[in-house]
Amino acid sequence: MKKFVNDPKDFVPEMLKGIALANPKTLKYVPAYNLIMRVDIPIQDKVSIMQGSGSGHEPAHVMAVGKGMLDAACPGNVFAAPPADYVYQTTKLVASKKGVLHLLNNYTGDTMSFETGREMAEADGIKVRTVTINDDVAVKDSTWTVGRRGVAGNFFVMKAVGAAGERGRSLEELEALGNRVVSVTRTMGMALTGCTPPAKGTPIFTLPEDEMEMGIGIHGEPGRKRIKMAPANEIVDELLEAVASDLPYKSGDEVAVMVNGMGGTPISELYLLYGYVHEQIVKRGMKIKRNYVGEYCTSLEMAGFSLTLVKLDPELEDLLAAPAEIAIRVF
């Protein structure tokens, strides 16, 4: 395994320690519950917003903690949802008079932990609301499946809800806003390679040199289908068609576009992809108001990317444009 790691069991705690040391004025690391939170939380007249999920998706979600986005994140081990107890303890730590908003990606494990954690917190008299993110169009939402997964689109929920939270919105308003963002956000991802959880030491899956996986999840779950490698533009065509036709996004729509790297794909390739994505979206008659090119929700060192479209309205656009002070930054 070619990774920077000491004892694999310490991978997540050591990463969280690094985040806190890099942001001493704004962030705090609480080892007991594996959580990163703002030092100035709870703020009583502001709803506290938290997200939990497996680790391995960085910067999601621990590096998205900060004024204007999350107030706390409680990650589990790599690709494992946090224990229900962490969700409960984190909720208690951040709870303000206005309540706590739980954001989570729709995976069985996360749902289970957050349901239990919420019950425990509510038993303590804490007001909790939940927004479940499920933007992945790769999973067909048929009756027998567990529903669509939450993937890179979660960024837009965190950002919009985070900005609205700073503006003093109520818990119910934030819940409604979060669900509204989910309702206009769609994503599909693909992978060129698998990835290796530090504690496992071997790749979750391996792809032959000439094959790629379409419709991948953010945990290395194999996706929809495995096909031969293709030129970048053809890959974009397939993802864009799947994403755009799902909502659907129509000519005249104002959109935000995200080309999200899976962790191992260099930014040069992401911008190469964006160039063609941009042209194709414009061809479809949409107006690109905001674009996001980089890593927002990854799968460790997996090579691949996901494409996200968000249908904007003036309020949403304004919330996305608002400032946020989080760990991922350039300066």
Binding site: A84, T108, M112
Partner: protein, 207 residues
């Protein structure tokens, strides 16, 4: 008999730790490869907390085991295994000694808990598909008056057969479900774990 409960939990814990890599590998085929790691951390915690646990009543002991798991294991396994031990412990109420029929009831309670927590049932390609038939066999063997060692052996055989039987199934729960059709032909990691654990307990019982 209460000592037996602790003995069985010890055996399970040891065997989970021994099989950590193997279980993760199974989960990696169509899942995300963390199953072994997750429950291993849980039973590690169980062993760490061992001396702080209440050993007077098997019921409270099993509830302590549940807490250790819930506070250290995330996701599906944390909830599913935590619920199982919690329900099992609750089913024993305040009994200090437990009977063979208590054991069956204890398993039934765990199974009900899993079904509810996991919004699942037999045929979804989960650990239930091995656990449930194995418990049926255990009850049958007990009713036929076979002694415990034999009953455990017979249950272990069924657990193994049932685990193998998950191969043709299509996963309807957990991450494996996202792969739909592609889960056909693979073994469910949780089901295989059940077979491994029943076999380990049966073997240890004889020694």
């Amino acid at each position: 008999m209460s000592k037996n409960v602790e003995f069985v939990v010890q055996v399970i814990a040891k065997s989970v730790l021994e099989n950590e890599a193997y279980f993760s590998e199974l989960d990696g085929v169509v899942g995300d490869g963390d199953f072994g790691y997750s429950i291993a951390r849980g039973f590690e915690k169980v062993l760490q907390e061992w001396d702080n646990m209440d050993h007077t009543m098997p019921g409270t002991f099993l509830k302590n085991v549940s807490s250790a798991i819930v506070s250290s294991v995330g996701g599906v396994s944390g909830s599913i295994w935590g619920t199982s031990f919690l329900r099992a412990g609750m089913s024993l109420e305040t009994k200090e000694e437990i009977t063979r029929s208590d054991v069956v009831l204890l398993f039934r309670a765990a199974i009900e808990g899993i079904k509810k927590r996991g919004a699942t049932d037999l045929g979804d390609k989960t650990l239930l598909d091995a656990l449930s038939p194995a418990v049926d066999q255990l009850e049958k063997s007990f009713n036929e008056g076979k002694d415990t060692a034999v009953a455990l052996d017979e249950a272990a055989v069924v657990a193994r057969e049932s685990a193998e039987a998950t191969r043709p199934m299509i996963a309807k729960k957990g991450r494996a479900a996202y792969t739909g059709e592609r889960s056909i032909g693979t073994l469910d990691a949780g089901a295989v774990a059940m077979a491994v654990l029943f076999e380990a307990v049966a073997k240890a019982w004889k020694e």
